[in-house]
């Protein structure tokens, strides 16, 4: 019997005025009963439009049917056939523009809560006693993966399953990339990332942390060491700044710095050495997921006022709808159609305000979004003591500048063909290093494609 309710079964959450004071996970996940109830909303459309919206091709109606039937282990196994990180994707994918965006139920009412169901299956599996994973039989061929973020982990996992001996080189002291330094605990508990990575290790993937490729080893040296192919998933880690006066003031951070202090270095917890400032009033500039994460983190650190300052309107915001919704619930104040002009500092060079100007939307620009234009004379000062800039990131030049034969475009993104091979034979790349800042799931899709291409390449060249 199909459940014809027009809305998703709500997922239990921490109350907004409670959760904006802690870093525990906001959404608590479905119980088995709630998941089975939501699963019966799926119409099992013949052409599965949802699957076409998934960058890693998860067989969505199939796993949902298994949940509806109470076969949670089967549901997890079904997702795991194509997705390396189900517990992560269920939490951070922009489902509204992917699978759920294509769901027929969404035409009249809300789509099936595919993300919540994926999360349920993954979380259920984590509660079960670990199965003794047998590492696949090695084929003795070594492959190197640079960067332990979503694309690298996916690529490594797929290659390991095929029998390759995979070593991941990670620059930070902890594997996970943006999943550990960028996305906060309250949205993606680090224990979940850790367990997903343990799963990869159980399959024989080796992870060498503290290895900044391009500095300690070059890609060519990795190849000389006996790695037959290399995948570069080094992300888009360089923060952009606005280039407005006052950015050198004390109390101006990139969102990368602010979030890394909190998420990776655990500066918000007692007993950790990395310092973090507790601000009174914070302006976060930007309208993406990173801006939401920074704003909600600042609130949790105790800021009285936290503003999102975004130069376009809410319709143009690139953040997931759920993040915007959660941020509003938690008391983040949205200053839309506002653009920073300069950051003001006191006599000690510390931030004491940010001058903004009001904007209005004009004609669509190259991105298809309406271009914001300043309203003359509408300048005003926002009273803040910290400014966090979440206005985008670009790929790190470290690898391309030390790897002869590898080409990048004008934005610094590595050039690849449809198989994800770079301009250097045997060297593949994917994720934000290729696309510029994008999503976890797109990076995973690229890692997956690259793994298949690397396999084909090595089969041919063996």
């Amino acid at each position: 019997m199909t459940n014809m309710a027009q809305t998703k079964v709500p997922m239990p959450e921490q109350a907004p005025d409670v959760r904006n004071r802690n870093f525990e996970e906001v959404a608590l996940g479905y119980t088995a009963d709630l998941a089975m109830e939501e699963a019966t909303r799926c119409l099992h459309c013949k052409n599965s439009p949802c699957v076409s919206g998934c960058p890693v091709n998860v067989q969505i109606p199939d796993f949902i049917a298994l949940i509806a039937a109470g076969d949670f282990a089967g549901a997890y196994a079904k997702i795991r056939e194509t997705s390396a990180l189900p517990a992560v994707c269920g939490r951070v994918c922009p489902q509204e523009s992917q699978c759920e965006g294509k769901c027929v139920r969404g035409i009249k009412g809300e789509p099936v809560a595919i993300g919540r169901l994926e999360r349920f299956a993954a979380d259920w599996q984590m509660q079960q006693p670990p199965v003794d994973a047998q590492p696949p039989v090695s084929n003795g061929i070594r492959v190197a993966v640079i960067g332990a973020g979503p694309s690298g982990l996916t690529c490594a996992g797929d290659l390991a399953r095929l029998g390759y001996e995979v070593t991941i080189f990670e620059a930070f002291h902890t594997a996970g990339g943006v999943l550990v330094y960028g996305i906060p605990e309250f949205r993606l508990p680090k224990e979940i990332v850790r367990r997903e990575i343990e799963g990869l290790k159980a399959m024989g993937v080796k992870i060498q942390t503290d290895m900044v490729i391009g500095k300690v080893l070059s890609v060519d040296e990795i190849i000389e060491m006996g790695y037959r192919a290399v995948f570069i998933g080094s992300g888009a880690g360089l923060p952009q700044f606005l280039g407005i006066p006052g950015e050198g003031a004390v109390g101006v951070y990139s969102a990368n710095e602010f979030l890394t202090r909190i998420n990776l270095m655990k500066a918000y917890l007692d007993g950790y050495d990395t310092p973090i400032k507790r601000s009174r009033a914070v302006a976060v500039v930007g309208g993406g997921n990173v801006a939401m994460d920074a704003a909600r983190s600042a609130k949790r650190l105790g800021a009285e006022q936290v503003y999102i300052v975004y130069r376009r309107s809410e319709a143009e915001m690139p953040a997931r709808k759920e993040e915007v919704h959660h941020a509003k619930e938690e008391g983040i104040e949205f200053r839309l159609l506002n653009n920073p002009k300069r950051i003001l500092a006191d006599e000690n060079g510390r931030v004491c305000g940010m001058e903004c100007v009001e904007m209005e939307l004009g004609e669509p620009d190259a991105s298809g979004r309406r271009r914001p234009v300043e309203k003359p004379g509408s300048e005003f000062v926002l009273d803040v003591d910290s400014v966090i800039l979440a206005v985008g990131t670009s790929p790190n030049p470290l690898i391309r500048s030390t790897t002869p034969g590898i080409e990048a475009n004008r934005r610094g993104c590595l050039v690849v063909d449809e198989s994800m091979q770079t301009t250097k034979p045997g060297v593949y790349a994917g994720g934000d290093a290729v696309t510029g800042a994008a999503t976890v799931i797109l990076a995973m899709g690229a890692g997956k494609t690259a793994a298949a291409s690397i396999d084909a390449y090595l089969q041919q060249n063996n």
């Binding site: 620059a171 930070f172 002291h173 330094y181 942390t209 503290d210 290895m211 900044v212 500095k215 300690v216 080893l217 880690g237 360089l238 923060p239 700044f241 950015e247 050198g248 004390v250 109390g251 951070y253 990139s254 990368n256 710095e257 890394t260 202090r261 270095m265 655990k266 007993g271 950790y272 050495d273 990395t274 310092p275 400032k277 000690n348 060079g349 510390r350 790190n396 030049p397 470290l398």
Partner: protein, 275 residues
């Protein structure tokens, strides 16, 4: 994990450690730095490499016990291990082809000025060194610095050893007597600022090595941004060496003091060095 092979106390507050880090030792060049993290709860701190031995696969660091991390690190002994030791980071020093250079170290900055002088000395450059300390009891690396320079000029603020005064006093005199085509200054920010102010009218190319707040050391956090010649640079990837005549030292000093309240003890000790 990275094993500590050797430890030497250079004075009450300055410790030298040699760490087993073969990958870094193979690549590192003068002027580059490492980032270390003591343990799972530690912070990541940058330290410029003081020396290295490619054959032995070791990297030597010298640090002053000014913050929580360096104070704790100073209690580690040979055989103990450091959780993380990442590098080599930053660009190597670009010495160019000088004929005569003056290398200036202030306090623990001598730990980095010394290898720079050594590198120049080994390139066949004629090197004078000026080393400034607060007082006699904290003088470090005197024989080492003497060995790689034609003249080592030692100053102390209180006159308890060498000449009484600041490194800039000696520098001003030398600039009238000698003709240098390179100056390297490494030490507290005010020292580098005043050295640069002194060499600027004389037109002597001056390199300073900056050590701002940073987390990753690969260009990711942007915490280490400094204004150099009106442009924003990241010390971790564009530096740590910069043209001393172009650095906005006042901004750097303000930015470096941001977490002073969180590291109150560090504040007190650094204030002494900055005297």
């Amino acid at each position: 994990m990275y094993r500590i092979l050797d430890k030497r106390r250079l004075n009450d507050q300055v410790v030298q450690m040699t760490v087993d880090a073969p990958f870094i030792a193979r690549k590192v060049q003068a002027g580059q730095f490492i980032i270390l993290r003591i343990d799972e709860r530690g912070e990541r701190i940058p330290l410029t490499v003081a020396d290295f031995d490619r054959a032995a696969g070791t990297v030597t660091i010298i640090f002053q016990t000014v913050g929580a991390t360096t104070q704790r690190l100073a209690t580690f002994e040979p055989g103990d291990e450091i959780a993380d030791f990442v590098g080599p980071l930053g660009r190597p020093t670009e010495f160019g082809a000088p004929k005569k250079a003056v290398v200036i170290g202030g306090g623990v900055g001598c730990a980095i000025a010394y290898p720079q002088a050594k590198a120049l000395h080994e390139m066949g450059v004629s090197v004078d060194m000026i080393a400034g300390f607060r007082s006699k009891d904290i003088v470090i690396l005197e024989p080492e610095m003497r060995a790689v320079s034609n003249h080592l000029y030692l100053t102390t603020d209180d006159g308890s050893y060498g000449e009484k005064g600041f490194v800039t006093d000696v520098l001003k005199r030398l600039l009238t007597e000698e003709s240098y085509d390179l100056c390297i200054a490494i030490g507290p920010i005010p020292m580098m600022k005043f050295v640069s102010k002194t060499t600027e009218p004389a037109g002597v190319k001056t390199l300073v090595s900056l050590n701002p707040i940073m987390i990753d050391g690969t260009g990711m956090c942007g915490g280490c941004r400094v204004t150099v010649g009106g442009e924003v640079k990241f010390a971790c990837v564009d530096g740590p060496d910069f043209d001393g005549h172009l650095v906005d030292y006042d901004e750097l000093m303000r930015r470096n003091s941001f977490y002073r309240d969180e590291e109150a003890h560090a504040c007190r000790l650094e204030a002494q060095i900055h005297d």
